[in-house]
């Protein structure tokens, strides 16, 4: 168990360091002058120098990385927009909860829809219900958010007028963004639930449960589904990071004031420091969620860590 934990931590830490290096040093790897790329060739010399200083390009590489880490840790990191005064961290502190809220609601929605659908589909294997559910899940992974979101807005906000289209306050405002964000995951999870239920259903202990005369309902929900859900929930956890990344698109569609909107706005304003802080925060979250999921899975199912340890 210790070796398993150590390996997981190590990979997580290396990933975070890797992203830190990428976001700090990537500008140096570009051929030509990075500042030209960012400001355009006609920018004045004063602006260039100020930008160089704000993003640490005037420093040697190791100092640039160190300064960035130090500034993030102490909260001293400032935007790289003139006049270089606003701090980045309070901005992120304000936006991050909104993105987390959206992602968590979307994930719960996906799980709540996918599990019943997948179980139903497995129980009716080979029937029209099963085929219908699986075609739905194939369609679900094929629909781009950038299309689904606008369609939902048109139908439910504009034509039916049931829900607010953009922005808005309260619980109603989150419904359409959460559906948009969750569809892909919902589709994928329902497929996984189906195949997992079918796998478990063939296990000996399920036959035993039936043989001893338990009601079919008890067998399915107590014995089959409970075991089948372990891998499904794990995948859901691992996909949470993808959901966070997907939220960037959803936020743009619905004008949701979260991290994604901040990231895209900062990119458009060429506010490089905010961009890299956002990327780093997203990555840290992603890595942490994966780490926690992995460890939780290792604790629930000891086979995993044994097999992982031998590798």
């Amino acid at each position: 168990m210790k070796a398993f934990l150590a390996r997981r931590f190590l990979a997580a830490i290396v990933s975070i360091i890797g992203v830190t290096l990428v976001v700090t040093l990537f500008l140096r790897a570009i051929p030509g002058d990075a500042v030209d790329v960012m400001l355009g060739e006609q920018a004045g010399e004063v602006d260039r120098e100020a930008l160089r200083e704000a993003i640490g390009l005037h420093l040697p590489p190791h100092m640039q990385v160190w300064t960035f880490i130090r500034d993030i840790a102490t909260g001293e990191l400032r935007t790289s927009l003139p006049p270089f005064r606003a701090r980045v961290l309070p901005l992120i502190g304000e936006k991050l909860p909104k993105t987390m809220l959206l992602a968590v609601v979307a994930m719960l929605l996906a799980i709540a829809m996918a599990i019943p659908l997948g179980v139903l589909s497995a129980r009716k294997q080979g029937t029209a219900t099963d085929h219908g559910a699986m075609i739905f899940s194939l369609v679900g992974v094929s629909v781009p958010q950038a299309w689904l979101g606008p369609v939902l807005i048109l139908v439910f906000a504009i034509h039916l007028g049931w829900l607010p289209a953009l922005g808005g306050e309260g619980a109603r405002a989150i419904v359409l963004p959460a559906i948009t964000l969750s569809l892909g995951m919902m589709a994928m999870l329902s497929r996984m639930t189906r195949s997992s239920v079918l796998d478990v259903n063939r296990e000996d202990f399920v036959t035993t449960a039936r043989a001893k005369g338990l009601a079919e309902r008890t067998v399915i929900w107590r014995h089959v589904v409970r075991n089948a859900l372990v891998p499904v929930i794990t995948i859901a956890g691992l996909q949470f990071g993808a959901l966070l990344a997907g939220a960037i698109v959803t936020e743009k569609i619905f004008n949701w004031p979260g991290m994604g909107t901040l990231l895209i706005e900062s990119i458009q304003r060429r506010d490089y420091n905010t961009v890299r802080a956002c990327v780093l925060v997203f990555t840290v979250l992603y890595v942490l969620v994966n780490l926690v999921t992995d460890i939780a899975y290792g604790i629930v199912d000891p086979r995993i860590r044994v097999r992982g340890g031998k590798r």
Binding site: V19, F26, A34, V141, V143, P231, I235, I248, K252, I267
Partner: protein
């Protein structure tokens, strides 16, 4: 990270959904208590043919859709009723009509023409990205699987680290810094895209490298390169093909997302994502602007997914024995 990935693979790539009994007849696994379906039942020849046709029906539909879209992309200049930059200011943002089957957009450009040209760009990006990812991933994965030891350990740690990155986020960062361009898009997506193929190739090579025919080749003095290229790669091509068939539509969706965020293709390039982006700004006055490019994406991605499902079923050895 390995364990859940195995589960994904098992669920997505090698589902044990179609087991057969000893004589190769399909067995219908079912819930034993259901009186309609006994636990296993032989099926007649006729029933089997019907079932095979039905099983591959979706795959045929998928192949049809993919072919259709590919032809549309290749022959876009001949199929398009207008040129991509033909404007008609008198007829802006008009709905579908006989002259403009998909309606007109900003400045009266023909939406159908843009969707056709968009197919070129979106498919080109997806195919090149997948090609680069497969070549890099399979080379490294096969190397790791065949060499084993230190090389394998190092490469797999690298894979672990790259897998821990949110790929789309890295792509956003890279395209944001480098600026929108097709090459940057491909670079950004392939940078994390190769790891899946590397894992798959490594696992497959490890499973095969001690088979008799591989040992025989080695005993005859074949160099490692020759063993891998001539004996191993042809035998692992199937699963890699399946994986690429699922990977390609994922790249199309990633391109759509990036272009929608204004980070994919340069402004003015009609990729599907860019068309969706500009279309969604006219959602109220001209919903057809976003609807048609979106439908094109859905049809294409769905086609690849259907096709991938079919190929996977065909290549799954347990499925094949029954067929």
């Amino acid at each position: 990270m390995k364990a859940p990935f195995d589960i994904i693979l098992r669920a997505m790539v090698l589902p044990g959904a179609r087991p057969t009994d000893d004589e190769g007849h399909q067995v219908i696994p079912d819930f034993a208590s259901s009186p309609k379906h006994p636990r296993s039942r032989r099926i007649s020849r006729q029933e089997r043919i019907r079932r095979t046709l039905r099983r591959y029906l979706l795959a045929w539909i998928g192949l049809g859709l993919v072919t259709l879209v590919t032809l549309a992309a290749v022959f876009a200049p001949w199929l398009s009723p207008y040129t991509p930059d033909a404007m008609n200011l008198a007829n802006e943002l008009a709905g579908p009509s006989r002259a403009h089957l998909f309606g007109t957009g900003d400045n009266g450009v023909d939406v159908l023409t843009h969707v056709l040209y968009g197919a070129r760009i979106s498919l080109l990006v997806a195919m090149l990205t997948t090609l680069v990812s497969v070549v890099v991933g399979v080379s490294l994965g096969a190397l790791a699987g065949y060499a084993g030891g230190m090389v394998d350990g190092l490469l797999m740690r690298l894979v672990d680290v790259v897998l821990a990155f949110p790929g789309i986020l890295l792509a956003i960062f890279i395209t944001a810094v480098l600026g929108p361009a097709v090459e940057h898009l491909i670079l950004a997506l392939a940078l994390t895209g190769w790891v899946g193929y590397a894992r798959l190739a490594r696992g497959q090579v490890m499973a095969l490298r001690d088979r008799e025919y591989v040992q025989a080749a080695r005993a005859l003095g074949a160099t490692p390169l020759r063993v891998v290229v001539r004996h191993l790669l042809p035998n692992i091509a199937g699963p890699i093909l399946v994986s690429a068939t699922f990977g390609l539509p994922a790249v199309i969706l990633a391109e759509v997302a990036l272009s929608f965020l204004g980070l994919g293709v340069p402004p003015g390039t009609p990729s599907w994502g860019a068309l969706l982006e500009s279309g969604s700004q006219y959602l109220l006055v001209a919903p057809h602007l976003a609807a048609f490019p979106g439908l094109a994406v859905i049809i294409t991605v769905l086609g690849f997914n259907f096709l991938g499902d079919g190929i996977r079923d065909r290549l799954d050895p347990r499925g094949r024995r029954a067929g």
